[in-house]
Symmetry: C2
Subunit: 267 residues, 2 copies
DNA sequence: CGCTAGGTTGAATACGCTCAAAGATCGTGG
DNA sequence: CCACGATCTTTGAGCGTATTCAACCTAGCG
């Protein structure tokens, strides 16, 4: 313990020595206070995870998929492919995200899910999910809370593609990823691992690869971001947020829930 | 009763004499078999509804909103406004849709909701929602099922604006509305009430009003749709679906859930 | 060393936008 | 009942953002 304290004091918060908490514990930290039992129940959910190599489909649209997956480590994305071969990425999945929260309720997956990097997924089968809803109402509420957060992310993605310029879209996406990664302690200061190819960014934001390239060059020239060996650094958070018309409260203000949430958690 | 039978036999399915079932009953019909108790519980939820005039905000982004609203009658939409005044509509709400399913879990609404026509909303407070989850697991599952369907609709909206041409976007939106309205018996054959102005369509699909106008003219000239006094008629469903690259199974194949769903409903 | 995936750049094109102005339609009040 | 205003639709013309196609560069890897 003492050793750990010393290590923590020496090494920056973002080093490889992650704290011992599970990713879900980190995710829900600051949202609600979990009991020890709940923490261990969450830990149990994440205890067995399977590894997937980068660029592998974990879920395929149209196929049965009744396992709710929890992304423990790595990046993935949810996407659809059109008949003519075009691809649209719906959302990115980062550690702590639930992949298929509704999986058990439907016959087939509506979107595919592919790993972007090497990943670790834990899987909860319908019985386990059912169990949570029956015996752990507070955790069940947190699952719903996650679903609501994901819904907000999709809404923002729609706004992003629907009404923003290429420059704004990219700036906005980078800001969002920063915030989301911060919530699971995966950023260090204003920089983070950035495993997205320009093609992936294009397919996310409805842009061509070429235009993503030119636009990111502008963002770099404007001194807003910097990229080296797979990381991105935000040089001027304020300026980037402004360029993106990024609502700094989005995702943030949703993290201190009360009403029903506090009622469930105070009883 | 006999009179009603006669009336039903005489009048086409799409006349003003709606069947006596509540909109939620119609919505869930074909998805699962509800017990009489459940039907009456649903009816109770919808018993008290408030009227709103057209073009009124029912929910405002950033404001507290802990009431889950159920749209009983009329059309509404969920949207965000940007600092520079641009607006993006996230999704349309039609009868039977839940407006704020996650409302109770968050401090503030992330998007605004505005009526498009005169509307009737029923409201369920957090206690009522909690009650459902505690005592009516099957109904709770249906609520989650609705959330999952809404999630699929948002994903499809992202694909639509991200990777489709203006022509395809409009065709695709019209197809989606047709299917969704069919599910709550609000269409008649291949035509339905269409209260969307071109500005609203533009703000939904990320297009300018002018371009929506020109593109719809093309759809009309191509013999795919027809518009008169607030209604739209799809002249050639097959052709429209093809033009939109509309996946005819989308939304449809999700309506016969098994796995967890059937387990819950068979016990 | 050569292959492959990803990044960069140029030139021509196209899709959709903006600005502007003129019809339609509908509700409302004189 | 007609006139008026407001809202929505339609059309034209010029422009700009983003696309497409094509080539070349770079880095990582077997």
């Amino acid at each position: 313990m003492i050793l750990k304290d010393i290590v923590d004091a020496i090494t920056p918060a973002d080093n490889d020595e992650k704290d011992a908490r599970t990713v879900l514990e980190r995710k829900f930290d600051g949202v609600v206070d979990l009991s020890d039992e709940e923490i261990s129940h969450l830990a149990e959910l994440q205890s067995e995870s399977n590894g997937f190599a980068a660029n592998k489909d974990v879920v395929e649209a149209g196929e049965p998929a009744d396992l709710t997956l929890i992304l423990i480590e790595g990046w993935a994305y949810r996407y659809k492919t059109l008949e003519d071969g075009k691809r649209q990425i719906v959302s990115f999945l980062i550690p702590g995200d639930f992949v298929n929260l509704y999986a058990a309720l439907f016959d087939e997956a509506d979107t595919s899910v592919r790993t972007l990097t090497d990943c670790q997924f834990a899987g909860a089968n319908p019985d386990q999910m059912l169990e949570i809803f029956k015996t752990e109402p507070r955790l069940a509420a947190l699952l719903c809370w996650s679903a609501g957060e994901h819904d907000a992310i999709l809404a923002e993605q729609i706004v992003r593609i629907g009404r923003r310029s290429a420059y704004e879209r990219i700036a906005h996406l980078v800001m969002e990823l920063l915030i989301r990664l911060e919530h699971v302690d995966q950023s260090s200061g204003d920089s983070f691992e950035f495993p997205l190819t320009q093609e992936v960014i294009g397919d996310t934001l409805g842009l061509s690869t070429v235009h993503v390239n030119r636009t990111m060059k502008r963002l770099r020239n404007d001194g807003l971001i910097e990229q080296n060996n797979g990381r991105i650094a935000i040089k001027d958070t304020r300026a980037l947020a402004d360029a993106a018309q990024f609502d700094r409260d989005y995702l943030e203000r949703r993290r201190v829930p009360h009403s029903l949430m506090s009622r469930i958690f105070d009883s």
